[in-house]
Amino acid sequence: MRVKVNGNDYDIKIIGQNVIVNGKQITAKFDEDQITIEGKKFYLDYIEDSDPSLVIVNGMAYIVSKNSDLTISMKELRAPISGRIIEVMVKAGDDIMKGQQIVVLEAMKMQNHIYSPTTAKISELRVKEGQTVKTGEILATFQ
């Protein structure tokens, strides 16, 4: 299987205890949440269920994407966490850029700046300042 890790391509084949990385066989030992490669231990601290996915190994962050050519067309922006909308930076009809700040969402005593995942026109803005939102609630939809 081909994957991209932090922007680099890897071709991984796992057949039983044999692992072939980019055509080269390596010695690997698997265990519960850890793997030993060529004598060095790697602990899996965290793995995110999505693509691309955040993987934390030995305290370091890796972004693994399985389908490196996939471009997802985004139709909506959802609240990543429950909280209160402190500030709305855009309005319906605005043309926005990928990475542009859409709202500030306060949760766990933190102001979380929520950015646009895509370059598009905002067709509908569903929240206003002061409103509380739940995780997964749609904040804005895109054309």
Binding site: M1, V3, V5, N6, N8, Y10, I12, I14, V19, V21, I26, A28, F30, E32, D33, I35, I37, K40, F42, Y43, L44, D45, Y46, I47, E48, D49, S50, S53, L54, V55, I56, V57, N58, G59, M60, A61, Y62, V64, K66, R78, A79, P80, I81, S82, R84, I86, E87, A107, M108, K109, M110, Q111, N112, H113, E129, G130, K134, T135, G136
Partner: protein
């Protein structure tokens, strides 16, 4: 003597340690969400004050005072955050005959009002020009006088809330209302002021102890590594100061606190740029980052706080403060390491680095603990200290990569990246450090991640997240009220996107 600790989490465990030393009986409180938290087990007696949100629990003065009276406590230690710098709380304690471990209400009234504190301090130390504004027109006028860029701040503010930077007239009209609104929501006051904005400053603070008569300093802490005005890494001594400058900044801080007749532990915060420092504010509480000062001075700050509050007074003199070596603290938060979005949930395993005598961990968590979504996301403070700065950095890097926290993402990868950055290694950094940071990782780690992603274990891992595993039932039994759904969805948001 009996003491009520009006707080939660790691700082409770920390205060308990000093109480035991002084033969003070430590009591405490817990909200519904903290019922099974480990810190509760360290307390001699603890009262359930109900509620989940901080506003229904740890921010309620009536519940705190009620618990103190019921448990027969002579003193209240507010810790940091929550009610720590609330002059009203300190006054209520006084009225009820309970000793408040913190400065007097008179001092809190000045330090809690940033503008007033600036006025008092401007006679002693350089401050950045600031003026209160109540309308947008006034804001535009003042900004023009001071000169752009300027920063809007909430007079009652803290924790970076209500802060807005404006580099032009248009910016002022864009941010004025939102800053005012945020100040109102967060601090119940819409008083704003405008200040000259210093670009890329360093943030240096001086630790003070005082009992009203004797005021001493315990050296400085460098706190420039921040995101959204919240500190992530602190170190002492600051790599930015020459000995001469260190003397000047610590003397100035001491003079400021002498003027205030300061009576407890407190911090004077400065911005530092081009060999010039400017007073910013006074933090009148024990701070999250106090351990690094304790490690280099050998002085127990909480013990001194208790001595001052109980009337014994400060038991050390300025000559007794002889810092040696170097200490760094990394605040490990339950957050996405790249976006810093907080993440509550259940910790699967929690194995701190135990290996050396020069590593200190302040935490109240262990394997199986829950990080409730209702409070801040700090889960552990990792403090390392060695004779030299370079030695401390090496020990910290090693400790970070040995610190196993699984089940939720943490900011450990951020810290490893920061400590491997040449700007950090050279000590040449300012408050924009985090914005310009490149994530650090290893090639062999990439291979390991690629393989780990494809192992069958991942399937098992995913099943757990689907909602019917033992872990979820375990959490559910603890949150059987209406907030449960919100709780679970909070801890799962990353899996939905």
């Amino acid at each position: 003597m009996k003491l009520l600790i009006a707080n939660r989490g790691e700082i409770v465990s920390r205060i308990v340690k000093s109480c035991r030393k002084l033969d003070i009986i430590p009591c405490g409180v817990y909200s519904e969400a903290d019922k099974n938290s480990i810190y509760v087990k360290f307390l001699y007696e603890a009262q359930n004050i109900g509620g989940l949100a901080a506003s229904d629990s740890y921010l309620r003065m009536d519940k705190m005072v009620g618990a103190a009276l019921q448990l027969g406590c002579d003193m209240i230690h507010p810790g940091y955050g929550f009610l720590a710098e609330n002059p009203e709380f300190s006054e209520v304690c006084k009225r009820k005959g309970i000793i408040f471990v913190g400065p007097s209400p008179q001092v809190l009234k000045i330090s809690g009002d940033k503008l007033r504190a600036k006025q008092v301090v401007s006679r002693i130390a350089p401050v950045l020009e600031a003026k209160e504004v109540s309308t947008q027109e006034e804001a535009l006028k003042v900004a023009k006088e001071i000169g752009y860029p300027v920063i809007l701040k909430a007079a009652r503010g803290g924790g970076g809330r209500g802060l807005r930077i404006a580099s032009s007239q248009e910016d002022i009209s864009k941010v004025f209302e939102s800053s005012r609104k945020e100040s109102m929501i967060s601090f119940a006051s819409d008083r704003l002021f405008i200040e000259k904005y210093l670009e890329r400053p360093r943030h240096i603070e001086v630790q003070i102890l005082g009992d009203g008569q004797n005021i001493i300093n315990l050296g400085e802490r460098e706190c420039s590594i921040q995101r959204r005005h919240q500190k992530l890494i602190e170190e002492t001594p600051s790599p930015a100061l020459t000995n001469e400058m260190r003397q000047r900044i610590t003397d100035t801080a001491t003079d400021i606190m002498k003027e205030m007749k300061y009576d407890n532990a407190g911090t004077v915060e400065f911005l530092f740029k081009d060999e010039q420092f400017y007073f910013m504010e006074i933090n009148s509480r024990i701070q999250v980052e106090h351990p690094i000062t304790e490690q280099v001075t050998g002085i127990d700050l909480i013990e001194q706080q208790l001595n001052i509050a109980s009337g014994t007074g400060l038991t050390i003199k300025q000559e007794d403060v002889r810092p040696r070596g170097h200490a760094i603290e990394c605040r490990i938060n339950a957050e996405h390491p790249l976006t810093f979005i907080p993440f509550g949930g259940r910790i699967k395993s929690f194995v701190p680095p135990y290996d050396t005598k020069n590593v200190r961990i302040d935490t109240a968590l262990s394997s199986g603990s829950i990080v409730p979504p209702f409070y801040d996301s700090l889960i552990a403070k990792l403090i390392c200290f060695e004779d030299s700065r370079i030695g401390t950095i090496e020990t910290m890097k090693r400790s970070l990569s040995m610190f196993r926290i699984s089940g939720i993402p943490t900011t450990i990868p951020f810290h490893i990246s920061a400590l491997n950055d040449t700007r950090f290694m050279e000590g040449m950094y300012d408050t924009s450090f985090v914005d310009e940071l490149t994530p650090f990782s290893l090639k062999d780690g990439e291979v390991a991640s690629a393989i780990l992603c494809q192992l069958p274990r991942k399937v098992k891992f995913l099943e757990k997240k689907k909602g019917n595993s033992n872990a979820d039932i375990w959490i559910k039994s603890r949150y059987s009220d209406s907030n449960f759904d919100q709780y679970l969805s909070n801890s799962r948001w990353l899996h939905e996107s």
